[in-house]
């Protein structure tokens, strides 16, 4: 600044820059006159006291690094993860390759490329976690299993035939259930579904030891079905003497142990709790055998330590809904000795029972055509029948208060036998009709099954139907000979008639190559008759099945038929679902007394008079 208050620049001599410092020379500042007045006050108050500031230009060192800069680095926690590890797959030693012409591998589902094909991608059956699986690991285990169609598509597991979609659903359901009652109507393939579910459980390491219990006559059937549907699985049948059976049930390396109810009860009845063999899965075929929870069979089976409990039956209720409680107790879904009411039973049924009827599962299945053959007794037969009935009723009346249901029952059986054939003359209206029908059937190359309650009647018919290549299959035939009989009946074109008893032939057999079924005499419960008929009318049947019931006019058979029909109608009205095969249609004591216009004893009015087991055929 000069004295006039003009700002002036003054040149200051430049200092030499040290060698280690970057210095920029100060710009030369020529002297110049400022064009504005500057008055600087020292105190800010008195303008008289002031001095002129000295203006200098100096060199300054430049900053070459940024130094501290405030910053923010994003930090992410690694997400937590959940792991599910799957058990290793179990390999079973494959059996030597055999040429099996009748077996074909199913075609696996083919993934289709392109948008159009995506729309028609084949439906897949996924395994859903069961309702009672609560832990996330358990639920994810099932969700992450491959769809059954690809699992069973012949890549790891070969299936001889492609299952139907409802069978896939059944397999998926069983696979996930710890407690299950598969109650599909007869003929829908409960055996196959169970075997495949067992196979998947074994192969995926979910179970190691399986106990399969079935009625004795069905052992060969299960063996055959295992060979067909799971040929790699070794199935050991509990047989031999007591020591051998003990050794078998204690061997932990046996994956599937097959036994029958009688042997199981005999072997385990007196075994201490701690010595009972444990199983990962216990399967009861025809599980109505344990419908009475107080029976020895039920008690012994419930004691077996197990993780999973499956029941298989087409008739979960034969007589009373309470029978379900016994099955549920075995399945471990109700406490011991509990008595769930109908509402609770319904809720449990929704959770633990899978039941499909043929109408739902197989709408295209050829129909079953029922016809009643009302026959007139022959003259001699009629005479014998009338005498027997008259004498029998008189005898019962004479007994007065001493009469029991057993006495009436004996008369019923005797009269029913006479309607089959006259024991004195050998005349039989039913046989005449049978021969007439069979001539037509055999001429067309067809095959028929005939059911009777009595082995004696079956043998009697066999002697008179040799021209049709008749074969006998009942409780009197040794078990080892039964399979060859069925095989020959199936394969030999000269064998047109198979004579079976209800007790031995009614359950578990696959005879769908037969187009005709004759019910030579009536069983006490139509549910059992249905089981018998369904040996022929089942999955795989190609033609309609014609069922003929022989009923002799004006005899006890007609009266029984009438009572059974009335009961069926009542059940249909009550249930309203048309599914009456599961309900009791058996005659009770009052109804049997009613057949002869006799009064039932007090307190016995609702007791079923049908034989307790179906193997009472020998009693005749």
């Amino acid at each position: 600044m000069n004295d006039d208050g003009k700002c002036m620049g003054t040149a200051v001599p430049r200092l030499p820059a040290p060698a280690d410092q970057l210095r920029l020379p100060a710009p030369a500042l020529p002297q110049f006159d400022s064009d504005f007045d500057v008055t600087v006050t020292q105190t800010g108050i008195n303008v008289a006291l002031h001095r002129w500031p000295k203006l200098q230009v100096q060199e300054q060192k430049l900053i070459t690094s940024a130094g501290f800069i405030p910053g923010w680095k994003p930090y992410w926690h690694k997400p937590k993860t959940i792991q599910i590890a799957f058990p290793d797959f179990i390999d079973f030693q494959k059996k030597p390759e055999e040429k099996r012409e009748e077996v074909r591998s199913i075609k696996p589902p083919v993934p289709q490329g392109g948008e159009e094909n995506k729309a028609v991608r084949k439906c897949v059956t996924r395994i859903q976690p069961p309702a009672d699986a609560l832990s996330m690991e358990d639920r994810l285990f099932y969700i992450l299993q491959p769809p059954l169609e690809s699992w069973l598509a012949g890549q790891e597991l070969v299936m001889p035939f492609e299952p139907f979609s409802y069978q896939y659903e059944g397999i998926a359901w069983l696979f996930a259930q710890k407690s299950a009652l598969l109650a599909d109507e007869m003929g829908l393939g409960k055996t196959m579904q169970s075997i495949t579910a067992i196979r998947l459980l074994l192969r995926s390491g979910q179970v190691r030891r399986v106990l399969l219990v079935c009625p004795k006559p069905l052992i060969p059937n299960w063996q055959r079905e295992f060979r067909l549907w799971a040929e790699e699985l070794p199935v050991t049948t509990m047989e031999g003497d007591a020591n051998r059976r003990k050794m078998l049930r204690e061997m932990k390396s046996i994956p599937i142990l097959l036994t029958n109810y009688e042997i199981l009860v005999r072997d385990l009845q007196n075994v201490d709790e701690e010595e009972l063999p444990g199983f990962d899965l216990v399967v009861l075929d025809e599980s109505q055998r344990i419908k009475n929870r107080e029976s020895v069979t039920s008690q012994v089976i419930r004691r077996i330590p197990r993780v999973r409990s499956w029941s298989l039956t087409g008739t979960p209720i034969e007589n009373r809904p309470e029978e379900l409680a016994s099955l549920f107790e075995f399945m471990g879904v109700v406490p011991a000795r509990s008595t769930p009411d109908l509402r609770q039973l319904k809720r449990l049924s929704d959770l633990y029972i899978l039941r499909r009827t043929k109408e739902v599962a197989q709408p295209d299945m050829p129909p079953r055509l029922d016809r009643d053959a009302i026959l007139e007794l022959s003259s001699c037969q009629k005479s014998t029948y009338e005498i027997a009935e008259k004498e029998g009723v008189v005898h019962l009346d004479d007994m007065g208060d001493e009469i029991t249901i057993q006495h009436v029952f004996e008369l019923v059986l005797r009269l029913k036998q006479i309607t089959n054939y006259d024991p004195l003359t050998g005349e039989s209206a039913k046989l005449d009709r049978l021969i007439a029908d069979m001539e037509e059937i055999s001429a067309s190359g067809g095959k028929a099954i005939l059911f009777s309650q009595w082995t004696k009647t079956i043998d009697w018919i066999a002697e008179r139907t040799g021209q049709f290549g008749s074969m006998v299959y009942h409780g009197g035939v040794p078990t080892k000979k039964r399979e060859p009989i069925l095989k020959e009946f199936k394969e030999n074109p000269d064998k047109h008639l198979l004579l079976m008893s209800y007790g031995t032939g009614a359950v578990g057999l696959n005879l769908q190559f037969s187009q005709y079924v004759f019910l030579y005499d009536r069983w006490w419960n139509p549910a059992v008759e249905d089981q018998a008929i369904n040996r022929a009318h089942r999955i795989g049947v190609k033609n309609p099945v014609i069922v003929t019931r022989f009923i002799c006019k004006d005899t006890i058979e007609e009266r029984i038929d009438l009572v059974l029909r009335q009961k069926r109608e009542i059940f249909e009205k009550v249930l309203g679902e048309g599914d009456v095969s599961t309900e009791s249609l058996s005659l009770n004591a009052s109804e049997v007394f009613g057949l002869f216009d006799l009064k039932a004893k007090a307190g016995k009015g609702t007791r079923s008079i049908g034989p307790q087991g179906k193997d009472q055929e020998k009693a005749a």
Binding site: P79, I84, F89, I90, D91, L140, P146, Q155
Partner: protein, 169 residues
């Protein structure tokens, strides 16, 4: 009866993510044998980015979460590493987390090359992995059945994630 604990000839991985309406993302990877049988499954708990992260990453947030953060966590925990990884979201086609494991994406992704499997299915791959992909395709042709549906396991993973997220909620 013998337990088969050896590593399958060809191990497949299937990585899928599920996004919830609230913005949470969880991912899962299913390891299967060449026949589709499950060997191991890992899934993450849901990840929810905060406002700062959303601002910071902008449009690259989802690719980062799916392709790096969740994928990295899952890979680190896997006990059985797959020979190949199948994904169906372009964001998952990211080499950073999976390193040398070839990734095949069934939907189109930017900056990617394409390969054909079984002559009819197109997959998008990272160009740098082309040689690795070629190798694994040869291996797959040897072990994986032609009929195998390589999209199906991703549906399983998706269902499992929904189940897990539903339970966690």
């Amino acid at each position: 009866m013998a337990q088969n604990s050896k590593r399958p000839e060809c191990v497949l991985g299937f990585y899928q993510v599920v996004e919830q309406p609230n913005g949470e993302i969880s991912g899962g990877v299913l390891i299967t044998s060449h026949l589709g049988r499950p060997i191991e499954f890992q899934c993450s708990l849901p990840v929810r980015p905060n406002a700062t992260q959303r601002t910071l990453y902008g449009p690259t947030l989802r690719p980062f979460l799916v392709g790096e953060l969740i994928a990295g966590a899952l890979r680190d925990r896997l006990q059985v590493l797959p020979d190949v990884l199948f994904v169906d979201q372009p964001d998952a086609l990211n080499q950073q987390a999976w390193r040398s494991i070839p990734i095949l994406c069934s939907t189109e992704a930017d900056n990617s090359a394409t390969v054909q499997i079984n002559g009819n299915a197109t997959y998008w791959i990272i160009p740098e992995q082309e040689k690795d992909v070629e190798k694994i395709l040869k291996k797959m042709a040897e072990y994986v059945p032609e009929s195998a549906d390589l999209q199906e396991p991703l549906i399983r993973v998706e269902q499992a994630l929904k189940e897990a997220m539903g339970q966690a909620a």
